[in-house]
């Protein structure tokens, strides 16, 4: 019998959005309660998945667990199916998504005053879209979620954003669409290639896993680039990151949390789920790999250096994301199990700590309506609890031992070191710079006397705000002190992935001349 838990998790937020449609827009309290109940419900419903998944974490007999649906039960004519399934990698990201979705919605309680109903409706739709991306085992379904998710995010930035919201929203939408339409062509190529090899038209990802590595290198490299562009824009890797600061700065706080916490992970998830297993010969190619590692390292250092120079707190956090995600891609392209599992764990860590950082900035912004660092100083005197939590999250973000960031970054660096010690050496300054820009920010905002009289009467955290931080702080300590369960969850999928990459790269027709469907010429 098929278990339907994934579908239930997937559609709970959408159900919430549907219910909200029938609540009159003037009744703001009811709307907030309903949205929060569904967001919390979405998180609670995903909790039973934890013991269920834990029980079969080492099960190597099937790559994807909790599979439901079939390969072509949705649109048989084109071979698209409603097929969901997860492995350890997507399991962690799904749990992160449900948690951050609830926290973001809770944090919007007081921040959103206008067009409240719409806001929660779009947010809940966004939540379903994100979950769908991590669950889909069918490329058509995946693409539908991947694109459909852009619309609510665009509206969240565009309607509830800051002064340059229009620019930021359009830039976000166009930039991400540019990558994804090229990916669509890549998907269609894989789909057609599968048909040429097997005679079957299907979008099923497990089926495509079997045929895609056989694509000759000359075509595969172009396909890899098409997918790379989609994911690199989403991550964002240097030099495709320019949409990120705009989108982050203009988005409302909860939008930033989701953007940093979950949306960016779709790029790294895409690399792990698609680029690596589909094009093993390409990612193992030293030139391609060199470029990927190079861009990651440039991203780490560049993001950190730019963060140092920011006057706006939110922009600082945004650029720090570029740096942190550079670590994640570095771990991925180290192409060994240490680097990969570190990378996935670091993705979760980044969601926790950067999500918290955006909440922290949002709390000050709600009280003072400015994010200029120069406006603040001595905040720890007026908001002691807030200052403590900020300290914990800053330390977690910069990678202090006993907190989550350390575990992730250390594992990634260990993986990179195993592959090539120079890579690790180049990336390490990023850790130091992270400490520099975060501690310097902390010093300027929190330490010293209260210089600005407007800051004297700031209210400390309310219980609701404290509640938004509680799970994040607990998780930061948990992963920092006892990360073993997380690595156990990742062990099986990561090992299998590394194994298949190396096997396929050996067997694939490297540099084969005759492309069965490539190279037929462009226009004629």
């Amino acid at each position: 019998m098929q278990s339907h838990i994934l579908s239930i998790i997937l559609f709970t937020p959408l159900l919430g959005a549907f219910v909200l449609l029938f609540v009159p827009g003037t009744n703001k309290a009811a709307i907030r309660w309903i949205a929060n109940i569904f967001a919390l419900g979405g998180f609670l419903i995903s909790l039973p998945l934890v013991p269920m998944f834990w029980a079969q974490r080492f099960d190597a007999t099937q790559q994807f667990k909790f599979v439901e649906g079939a390969t072509n039960n949705w649109i048989p004519s084109i071979g698209a199916g409603y097929m969901l399934g997860i492995d350890g990698i997507s399991f962690l990201l799904i749990m992160l998504t449900t948690l951050l979705g609830w926290i973001s919605i809770l944090s919007s309680w007081a921040a959103i005053e206008e067009r409240v109903k719409e806001y929660y409706v779009w947010f809940l739709i966004l939540q379903t879209g994100m979950l769908g991306v991590f669950m889909a085992l069918d490329f058509f379904l995946f693409f539908v979620f991947w694109e459909a998710m852009l619309v609510p995010m665009y509206l969240l930035i565009g309607i509830w954003g800051g002064p340059r919201k229009l620019y930021a929203a359009i830039k976000f939408f166009l930039y991400t669409l540019l990558g994804s339409v090229l990916m669509l062509l890549g998907i269609l190529f894989l789909y057609f290639h599968h048909h040429t090899v097997t005679g079957v038209f299907t979008f099923s990802i497990p089926d495509l896993y079997k045929t895609a590595p056989q694509i000759p290198f000359a075509s595969a490299v172009w396909l890899f680039l098409a997918f790379f562009l989609a994911f690199a824009i989403k991550v964002p890797m240097f030099p495709f990151h320019t949409w990120l600061p705009d989108a982050h700065v203009e988005a409302p706080t909860a939008g930033s949390v989701i953007l940093a916490g979950v949306l960016l992970k779709m790029g790294t998830y895409g690399f792990v789920r698609f680029s690596l297993p589909f094009f093993p010969s390409v990612v193992m190619d030293s030139r391609v790999r060199g470029w990927m590692i190079g861009l990651s390292i440039v991203g780490i250092i560049y993001g950190a250096l730019v963060s140092l120079m920011q006057k706006d707190m939110k922009k600082l956090v945004a650029y720090s994301s570029v740096s942190h995600l550079g670590f994640c891609t570095l771990g991925i392209f180290a192409l060994n199990s240490t680097g990969l599992s570190g990378s996935v764990l670091q993705q979760v860590n980044h969601g926790i700590s950067t999500g918290a950082l955006f909440l922290i900035v949002g709390i000050l912004y709600e009280r003072r309506h400015t994010r200029e660092i120069a406006e603040y100083g001595g905040i720890s005197n007026v908001m002691p609890v807030y200052a403590t939590i900020t300290m914990i999250m800053f330390l977690s973000s910069m990678g202090l031992p006993l907190l989550n960031g350390f575990v992730g970054e250390f594992t990634i660096l260990a993986g990179a070191y195993t592959a090539n010690w120079k890579w690790a050496a180049w990336a390490v300054p990023g850790v130091i710079l992270a400490a520099a820009y975060l501690l310097w920010l902390y010093q300027r905002v929190f330490f010293g006397p209260v210089t600005n009289p407007k800051n004297e009467k700031l209210q400390d955290l309310t219980p609701r705000e404290l509640l938004t931080f509680a799970p994040l702080v607990i998780l930061a300590f948990w992963i920092g002190i006892y990360p073993k369960p997380f690595f156990q969850i990742l062990e099986q999928p990561v090992n299998q992935l590394v194994q298949t990459i190396h096997d396929n790269a050996k067997n694939s027709p490297v540099n084969a001349q005759a492309a069965p469907l490539g190279e037929k010429g462009s226009n004629r």
């Binding site: 693409f143 229009l166 166009l174 339409v181 190529f189 057609f192």
Partner: protein, 501 residues
């Protein structure tokens, strides 16, 4: 010569529509002004009955039928298009009732001409004889010339009608010239016989090339492909908004049906000659239309350019088809792509025009981008539906427009046109940008006027049908893909399949 019962049956929908058109003209004389909605009801009933007649043909003659000295071929391909025309006409009629009332031009001729133009379209889609196709084309074209200029007190409408008439008549002349050359070369007016004759001729025969070129000019003019598009923005902007919607879907679908009939039936042996030209036209159409649309501030004009851009995408599918061997996936998916695109486009584009039509108030023309400002606070349901139509036009899943784009990109990949495919997806970005301009105005800008927008019952129905179709085709496309497969005889053999072999 007597008519066989089959022939009666085949022409029944057209006869029935003509009777309703003439009946509306007569009834219009006697009904008082406040009862003019009877005309609209009559026209709607006419379309419904025609739909029933088509369904009867579909049931009674599952393999289609041919009649009138082999000039009228009602195969599944024709039936598919007939349904599209009728759907487009029905929705346009629903949109028109209140609009004409506001424009104070509530005349029966409007609906009569609309029905007559549908008769013309039916002849174009089902014609297998160039004389019948040409007659159908002229019947449709002349009806639409009048409809474009229907707002006789509006100078823009008059200007549009005159431009459309002059350019249209000119292109029809060139088209007729091409057809007459074809007749001279082959000695027949039947497309299947023309195909047989042409396949025996040297494809580089200069007279044949001239015949092909002139015929193609006529066809490309009717689908408004660049460089034969100049009439479209003016005609679309000046025409009554409901007619703009009707023209952009039904008239365009008819032109495509004619193009496919002539190029895929009659001139199929020449496809190595005309496909390179279509490549050029397709690239020019996408580039020109997308660039021009970026700077438009009039929504009708913007959507006119966007509809030209959509023609560019469909032409790409035609390229994929023209360069693949018949029966290969590239060929089939290209052809399916065009048909699916036309179906999806019928609903999403009519929906968008329905929203713009509803903006027309007593004192507001409602076709500037500013008139859409803050639409969300004035009419939330309409704004959300408009967003749906725009996203669908841009090709964002799960709206229906994605399905059309999917097939076109797929056919390009399958026929190996990677550069063209990349170019096409690049222009999707342009498209998204100008559609978002409208969305921004609706959702993000502040409204200039605050009162809520009244929406008539007919308009509600039109919006409901188009929105439902856009969502359902997008989320569960299986039955619609099957219907296209059916119309192309992919499931079973039919005349089209015979040609494709």
């Amino acid at each position: 010569m007597g008519l066989s019962p089959t022939e009666y049956r085949l022409m029944l929908p057209m006869v029935e529509l003509t009777i309703f058109a003439l009946g509306i003209l007569l009834i219009d004389l006697i009904v008082p002004r406040e009862w003019k909605w009877i005309n609209a009801t009559g026209a709607f009933m006419g379309v419904l009955f025609a739909g029933v007649c088509v369904a009867q043909i579909q049931w009674a003659l599952p393999r289609g039928g041919i009649g009138f000295l082999n000039s009228l071929l009602v195969d599944r391909f024709a039936i598919y298009f007939w349904y599209l025309f009728l759907a487009g006409a029905a929705i346009a009629i629903l949109m028109s009732v209140r609009y004409l009332d506001i424009e104070n031009e509530h005349h029966g001729e409007y609906y009569a001409l609309m029905l007559l133009s549908v008769v013309g379209m039916m002849c174009m889609a089902a014609g297998i004889d160039i004389v019948l196709i040409f007659i159908g084309l002229e019947l449709m074209a002349i009806s639409t010339y009048v409809l474009v200029g229907f707002l006789r007190r509006d100078r823009r409408s008059n200007e549009a009608a005159l431009k459309y008439l002059l350019l249209g008549a000119f292109s029809s002349g060139i088209f007729a010239y091409g057809l007459s050359l074809l007749y001279g070369l082959t000695g027949t007016t039947n497309l299947l016989l023309i195909q047989r004759a042409v396949s025996r001729m040297d494809p580089h025969n200069p007279v044949l090339i001239i015949a092909l070129l002139t015929t193609m000019v006529g066809l490309l003019f009717k689908i408004a492909a660049i460089p034969f598009h100049q009439w479209a923005p003016d005609a679309y902007e000046g025409a009554p908004t409901s007619i703009t919607g009707f023209m952009s879907v039904a008239v365009k679908a008819a032109a495509w049906a004619m193009l496919l009939r002539i190029l895929l039936f009659g001139l199929f042996p020449l496809r190595t000659v005309y496909t390179p030209m279509i490549v050029f036209v397709a690239i020019a159409t996408m580039t020109g239309a997308n660039l021009a649309a970026l700077t438009q501030n009039n929504t009708k004009r913007l959507l006119a350019y966007s509809s030209i851009a959509h023609v560019g995408y469909m032409l790409l599918a035609f390229v994929a088809m023209g360069t693949s061997q018949p029966g290969t996936p590239g060929f089939l998916d290209g052809l399916k792509g065009i048909l699916i695109y036309l179906m999806v486009y019928t609903f999403m584009n009519l929906g968008a025009f329905a929203v713009i039509t509803s903006l027309r108030q007593r004192d507001v023309i409602g076709d500037e981008l500013d008139d859409l400002a803050g639409l969300y606070s004035r009419a939330p349901a309409e704004a959300v539906l408009m967003l749906l139509f725009l996203l669908s036009l841009a090709g964002i899943p799960p709206a229906a427009g994605f399905l059309g784009k999917y097939y076109i990109f797929l056919s390009l990949i399958e026929s190996g046109h990677y550069v063209l495919a990349s170019l096409a997806v690049f222009y999707v970005l342009f498209g998204l940008y100008y559609y978002l301009k409208i969305a921004n105005a609706m959702f993000i800008c502040q409204p200039l006027v605050s009162e809520r927008l009244p929406i008539s019952l007919g308009m509600r129905a039109a919006l409901g049908i188009t929105a439902l179709a856009t969502i359902v085709i997008g989320v569960y496309p299986e039955p619609f893909i099957r219907s296209v497969n059916w119309s192309l005889g992919i499931a079973q053999a039919s005349h089209v399949a015979a040609v494709m072999k």
